[in-house]
Subunit: 190 residues, 4 copies
Amino acid sequence: MKLKDDTKVNLVFCATLKLILQVGVAGITMRQISREAKIATGTLYIYFKDKETLINALFEKCRASAIDIYFKGYNETDPFEKGFNKIWNNMLSYRIEHFDQAVFLDQCYHSPFITETAKEMNKRVLQPLMRLIERGKEENLLKDEDTFLLLTFMIGSVHELIKYLRYTGRKLNNVITDAAYKICWDGIKR
Amino acid sequence: MKLKDDTKVNLVFCATLKLILQVGVAGITMRQISREAKIATGTLYIYFKDKETLINALFEKCRASAIDIYFKGYNETDPFEKGFNKIWNNMLSYRIEHFDQAVFLDQCYHSPFITETAKEMNKRVLQPLMRLIERGKEENLLKDEDTFLLLTFMIGSVHELIKYLRYTGRKLNNVITDAAYKICWDGIKR
Amino acid sequence: MKLKDDTKVNLVFCATLKLILQVGVAGITMRQISREAKIATGTLYIYFKDKETLINALFEKCRASAIDIYFKGYNETDPFEKGFNKIWNNMLSYRIEHFDQAVFLDQCYHSPFITETAKEMNKRVLQPLMRLIERGKEENLLKDEDTFLLLTFMIGSVHELIKYLRYTGRKLNNVITDAAYKICWDGIKR
Amino acid sequence: MKLKDDTKVNLVFCATLKLILQVGVAGITMRQISREAKIATGTLYIYFKDKETLINALFEKCRASAIDIYFKGYNETDPFEKGFNKIWNNMLSYRIEHFDQAVFLDQCYHSPFITETAKEMNKRVLQPLMRLIERGKEENLLKDEDTFLLLTFMIGSVHELIKYLRYTGRKLNNVITDAAYKICWDGIKR
DNA sequence: CATGAATGAGCGTTCATTCAT
DNA sequence: TATGAATGAACGCTCATTCAT
């Protein structure tokens, strides 16, 4: 994978995400990607060894992008719940504003394209979030349950809110956001 | 005269579910299914007009099976939380005991195979669950939020618990179940 | 090939001819034939070893039927041209009244289904027609050219008339028939 | 960069015509064509969208080629019969020298592959021949019958001669040609 | 580096034929 | 005898990938 032309890689990523929204991660073909990115099929193979490599690279990029956004404006010195709320809202923002990425990441867990190593890396990425939950437990603000279980529900609450919005076709507003956040917080708080 | 063999349909369903666990709903081929079911490829087309029909029939069967199990032993005259807990545990049981079905149903929402009408039918299926949540709200036991939002989190809490178990490799036990149920209940209760 | 149930064989032949008119001899399937004849696919194989056998049997039947009709009402003691005209008109009648058979016979010459032996048999069938032409030559009524060449044009003139009718969509009438017959006769007469 | 190879289209056409001679237009498969043309199956689909397109393109090419040859050396200022004879001989030459094309064109009229529009185009192609016959009628050299009927027999006489040659296995020579031409001419002349 | 023609394995599906009933 | 379910080879076509330019 040669990275000389960074813009071309981005072009390919954008094209791929756009197509995944339309036909799903399993439905895309290399030809579609190259057409959407306005390059030749062969060129794809200059930048990515094969389809699996391309998808995994995109996965990596999206994962990194997600983490960046999750912790944007988060200040460890702030009181716990303020930080927790910040991150929860960041998660929500990411899934709204980068809807295509979020859809892709979700589909990846069902996809045979994502290698186990990529999934392993994802685990490491959860570390900062795990520490957040640990802090909440140490400050006796969260239930004294398995950290990862609590984190699962925190992340899950955002996912469920998104599902709810898609299913009902409703637009996000403060009332809904607040309700969903309260459900999450009431669920995991001590 | 050889008659159409009803057990063969089940054979095909089992084979398909097994394969979906391995390669995802989008990755399965008719050849794989026939091999797994130990029948000829052509035989598949005696029982199902085409691949789409097969997948939709399986979807229908799994959906029906899920609903059956969700409400098993549920008694409307019982106090609300007893019934709610019963159904929550039924959902969990279904997703543990029919893990392959649950994975398939989840993937279907991303799949272009499932027709829109099938999705519509699914909506109708949620009606009894919606009524359950309504009852909780009427009895002032649940938060006064949108019924479907609450239901989303109820179902989501089961999904998240399963994800947690898969991710950590842990086996289900009463401690974990109780913790997860409490998170759900605390989240949506008034 | 068992012939116990003669009506069933005829049922199959009729069904086959009907289908050939619609989809051509190369387009028919054994399934289509059995459905059209309202019997099971397997039953076809009781009466005919395989598809090729069925088609060849039908070919044989149509050929025989054609010859029967060609010489109907022909009297060797009549003057030559009267007899010639009779047979020419019989040929025309056959191709009009048994249009489906004629279409099938025509297609057979392009079809890989018709075995070489069947084609050989067809040659023998031309013998009576050859003798007719010979007689015309002996009576100095026809050109002194190769007998088979003259016969070819006699048969050909009927075929061309039919083509003309199909192409133009015109219905047969005495004016057209007489014109076509005259062209044929003027062409081969001395 | 490899460019689309125009000779490859011809390679495919030749292979297809060769196969049609052997198994008929309805019997050919894309695999056979690609093998005969010594290219990969997929390559066929670079040059032709699908089988129907390939066959129709070949039809178009053969039709054009036929018309070119029919009128080669024809001079409208020549006396009618000289021109008529020229074209009759051209038709014969075409069907001898491009026997495979002629067989294909004949089969096309029975084939479901040839679209109706292609057939329509063929009609237009007969126009110059129709005008030829009209001229013969105006000069009182041909029978005063329907133009298309006369044309049918003119074309038919060539077809019948070819059939005769195939059937008898005889080689074309001046004696046979002259006899056949005389039959045609005597048939349609006034 | 970039192109898109070329490849052939593999897809969903249909077919002639066989076989258990 | 008659049935139609079962078979697996073969169909038209698409795909990820390679390669000549």
